[in-house]
């Protein structure tokens, strides 16, 4: 069995091996950065939809701006889709749980009832909505920090 001659057998492979390793590391870093950017934009989109849903919800319950139930539901449905951009192993279920809280707060009680009671600013429904909004916004941000920072 012949011995390995480092200068003849190994050294010539060092430059291409280092090139491949360097490429791998740079590629991995840039993939991570791209995913982070993509998820940052998903978070911002989700947060904007949460705010929009609650504003529409408040108008719906106050009976102002002629906001209809379908408009509120359309935004909440879009939020559902956007939240699913978070992978299952990266906090999706927790986000969906908080989203369900928001859905309950906005579309619970006598939502879509023909005899719906118009609410005022101090009504518990409005307080529930703002609390659920806050919890979901916090969950979105902490999910991002936990998995992508």
């Amino acid at each position: 069995m012949s011995e390995v001659d480092w200068t003849r057998d190994v050294l010539p492979w060092a430059p291409p091996a280092l090139t491949v390793l360097g490429w791998y590391l740079v590629n991995r870093q840039s993939n991570k950065r791209e995913i982070r950017k993509e998820m940052r934009s998903a978070c911002d989109r989700c947060k904007a939809l949460v705010r929009e849903a609650v504003v529409l919800g408040i108008h719906y319950w106050f009976g102002t701006n002629n906001v209809q139930a379908w408009q509120v539901k359309a935004v909440l449905e879009e939020l559902d889709i956007e939240l699913c951009r978070f992978p299952d192993r990266h906090g999706r279920q927790d986000l969906l749980g908080k989203h369900a809280d928001l859905l309950d707060a906005i579309t619970g009680h006598d939502f879509e009832s023909q005899s719906r009671k118009v609410r005022g600013p101090t009504d518990p429904v409005i307080r529930e909505m703002t609390k659920a909004r806050q919890r979901l916004l916090v969950e979105i941000e902490s999910t991002f920090e936990r998995h992508y920072c």
Binding site: T107, G108, H109
Partner: protein, 110 residues
């Protein structure tokens, strides 16, 4: 084993809304009384498919599914019999939560 599939959009309405019978034409109480409850009593497995429906308000879903527990069906039985299909990931989360919460409220949970 008998299985029944209920397509909410085709068998009931693509826009289910409201809680009680007088809330509108397609409320949760009507869905439960006319379709869901008879299907659960009659079959070993019931598949509820929400494909093609608008997002249902919590008022509708709570009355339709939470109402099953109020009508005497236990969560355990529902877990064994009921299968939910929906294009929205939050629908099953919400429905099982209403069932579980109602079971807790009624004090039937062990």
């Amino acid at each position: 084993m008998s299985t029944q599939t209920i397509s909410v959009a085709e068998d009931f309405s693509p826009a289910p809304a409201g809680r009680f019978m007088d809330d509108g034409p397609y409320p949760g109480a009507a869905f439960r009384e006319n379709l869901l409850l008879p299907a659960i009593k009659k079959n070993d497995k019931v598949i509820v498919d929400l494909e093609g429906t608008e997002l249902a308000g919590s008022s509708f879903l709570e009355e339709a599914f939470g109402g099953l527990v109020r009508a005497g069906i236990s969560e355990t039985m529902l877990r064994a019999k009921l299968e939910l299909r929906s294009p929205r990931s939050s629908d099953p989360v919400r429905i099982w939560r209403y069932i579980h919460d109602e079971e807790m409220r009624s004090g039937r949970a062990h």
